[in-house]
């Protein structure tokens, strides 16, 4: 059984189902209570679960995560909402120094099952502080897991997996997809496992590795290439830490060519890591250099014209795929 939901509704449904299933799950954050969240993700939860499980907080991102860690140590499974992923920098210390290191410094005697939801991404006219894609900061920190769903199905299944995971998980939900990405979502307990990529399109000539809001333009570019006789395999990573290395390598072994597409900036983005890893471990399988289509190394500007110039799009991806196919 499945039904059609938006990406945003899928997140809400995962929260509600997990809260019904497990009394230890609760949500906290700014405006998540009666208001239902800045984007409406938590709408209805306050009425169903009350103020002790849908906790409105002051503007205190660091405390939101710190409180979550404290609750997690007592067996709770808090889901903390950062109103925008841009604000996650205010909670950086609690995530990277407190949560990520806790199990290690406890000699393996503790778990920190928290989820930090971070609405990320541009193309929504948000400007510098409502458009960022800060996932690479967290991929760089051992002890965390990082996920970034691209479909309504995965938004639900990955959030359930994140809530049930015993480790701190940063869950990047892309704002552009909230109401635009719609699709079938299974009813009930369908889990999308953390660490497993999805092949969105089969191909034999070029491997395209991407995630989040870049999956749709990547698929469109792949369709264009198909008309030119080039078959592109599109891999949606879904999890960024730990990412699905076997899936990337298996596709590379077929195609010998890899393009990484991400909305995060270029320098030390996940594309850099994937490229380095392929060079280290699969150099002989390559017929061309690993290429990247990314945001340039700059901030997300407010002007539609400027932001459009920065964002990866179907044309940019198509050009890169052609270059790679012809190499």
């Amino acid at each position: 059984m499945s039904k059609e939901l938006s990406y945003l509704e899928a997140i809400r449904e995962a929260l509600a189902e997990e809260m019904r299933r497990d009394p230890k799950v609760f949500v906290l954050g700014e405006d998540v209570g009666a208001y239902g969240g800045a984007f409406g993700v938590t709408q209805g939860l306050y009425d169903e679960f009350g103020e002790m499980r849908v906790v409105d907080t002051p503007i205190s991102e660091s405390a939101i995560v710190g409180i979550s860690i404290g609750a997690a140590l007592r067996g709770y499974r808090p889901v903390a909402e950062m109103q925008f992923a841009d604000f996650i920098s205010c909670a950086f210390d609690q995530i990277v120094n407190q949560a990520a290191t806790l199990r290690y410094r406890y000699g393996g005697r503790a778990t920190v099952p928290i989820v930090v939801r971070a609405p990320s991404g541009g193309n929504v006219g948000g400007g510098l502080y409502h458009s960022q894609n800060p996932e690479a900061w967290f991929i760089h920190r051992p002890g965390l897991k990082v996920v970034a769903p691209s479909t309504a199905y995965d938004a639900k299944g990955l959030l359930k997996a994140a809530i049930r995971d015993d480790n701190p998980v940063v869950y990047f939900e892309h704002k552009y997809l909230y109401r635009r990405a719609k699709g079938p979502v299974p009813e009930g307990d369908e889990i999308v496992p953390i660490g497993v990529a999805a092949t969105r399109r089969d191909g034999t000539d070029v491997t395209l590795v991407t995630y989040g809001a870049m999956v749709t333009p990547s698929l469109e570019a792949a369709d264009r290439l198909s008309k030119e006789g080039v078959e592109v395999e599109v891999i949606d990573l879904r999890t960024l830490l730990p990412f699905d290395k076997p899936a990337i390598f298996a596709s590379l072994d077929k195609t010998s060519r890899v393009l990484v597409v991400h909305e995060d900036v270029k320098t030390l983005g996940i594309g850099a890591e994937i490229s380095a890893l392929i060079t280290e471990e699969r150099f002989d399988a390559l017929d061309a250099p690993v290429m990247r289509v990314t945001y340039p190394d700059t901030h997300p500007p407010f002007s539609h014209v400027l932001e459009g110039a920065n964002l990866p799009n179907v044309d940019k991806i198509t050009d890169a795929l052609r270059k790679l196919a012809e190499y």
Partner: protein, 327 residues
């Protein structure tokens, strides 16, 4: 500042002697560590609480196992009073597998959830939101367990301090914030880091009471704690207790503390919490030479045994450097 209600307490001679034992053990443990650092047997990470012991003993004495504490880096005595074996704490300082973090980190960066101890990072004040999270779960469960969170006057200048105390005040959480005002944040004296005299005054802006007391008087600390405990256990919310004290050693063992005068140190040494309490016990015929000798012998034997146990403990296997990151 509104007056904090004086809470009557009655401690039996046996209980008073127990408190005396914890003071002596905490002091002897830190003194031995100081020696071990000079001998090169402990690498680093030693931040003694010598001179401040009355605070942890007066606050932790008589707590329930279920009550949580979130100590700071000088509060080794808090770990001991709350139930961690001295030999385990010594192993932690020796970076042995018999320590709490199995060699992953030094000092007090590890905790024991079963004993109600949270181990903080080096980011001072970062334990306070975690303490609020622990307290939030007690409120959710409608139990009368409480949390005691420790911080220095230096950490009261951090954002986490503000975020945690504000949230605790809003939610009326069962948490006691204990400030160990030892006059210096590393080298910076209190007058250069605060424009007010008492950290206790900060409590009022969060909607609860703060009181400044003599932190070198273990019974004054105990009394103030009992009053705050009674309020926290009955749902009357947080209290801030500022304990005025002084650290005899430098910030850490390598710090010669040239930033303060010999006269100042001598003045504070004349307020040593241990002789003060010794006199109290002697004048009431609770302690005599024989009993004192017995306690001191036990303390020395305990520390000797702990050092021997830690010395003989196994170093970690190099392969363990990358384990215990994920559950």
């Amino acid at each position: 500042m509104p007056p904090i209600k004086r809470t009557k307490f009655k401690l039996t001679p046996e209980q008073l002697l127990e408190m005396f034992y914890w003071l002596k053990l905490s002091r002897a443990f830190d003194e031995r560590l100081s020696t071990l650092v000079k001998q090169g047997k402990v690498r680093s990470g030693v931040y003694t609480g010598i001179g401040q012991e009355a605070i942890v003993v007066g606050t932790c004495y008589g707590l329930r196992k279920e009550d949580f504490i979130a100590p700071l880096h000088r509060d080794l005595g808090a770990f001991l009073v709350k139930g961690v074996e001295p030999r385990v704490m010594m192993s932690q300082m020796f970076a042995k597998t018999t320590g709490l973090s199995k060699g992953r980190d030094s000092a007090l960066h590890s905790g024991v959830t079963e004993l109600g101890i949270f181990g903080n990072t080096s980011m001072l004040g970062a334990n306070l939101p975690v303490a609020a999270g622990l307290a939030l779960t007690f409120k959710m469960e409608k139990t009368d367990n409480i949390v005691i969170a420790y911080f220095g006057e230096g950490a009261s200048n951090t954002g986490d301090f503000h975020e945690a105390l504000n949230f605790a005040g809003v939610q009326q959480l069962p948490v006691i914030f204990v400030c160990e005002n030892n006059q210096y944040a590393y080298s910076v004296p209190v007058e250069k880091s605060m424009a007010i005299d008492d950290v206790a005054d900060r409590a009022h802006s969060y909607g609860f009471d703060g009181v400044a007391i003599n932190g070198n008087d273990v019974l004054a600390v105990y009394q103030a704690t009992q009053g705050a405990l009674a309020r926290a256990r009955t749902g009357e919310g947080p209290t801030l207790i500022e304990c005025k004290t002084y650290r005899w050693h430098g910030h850490s063992e390598h710090d010669k503390a040239f930033y303060r005068s010999d006269e100042e140190l001598a003045m504070w040494k004349s307020r040593d919490p241990i002789p003060t309490f010794t006199t109290y016990l002697r004048t009431r015929n609770i302690l005599d030479d024989e009993k004192l000798n017995e306690i001191e012998t036990t303390v020395t034997a305990t520390i000797d045994e702990a050092v021997e146990y830690a010395t003989n403990g196994a170093d970690p296997d190099p392969a363990e450097a990358i384990t215990d990151l994920y559950a």
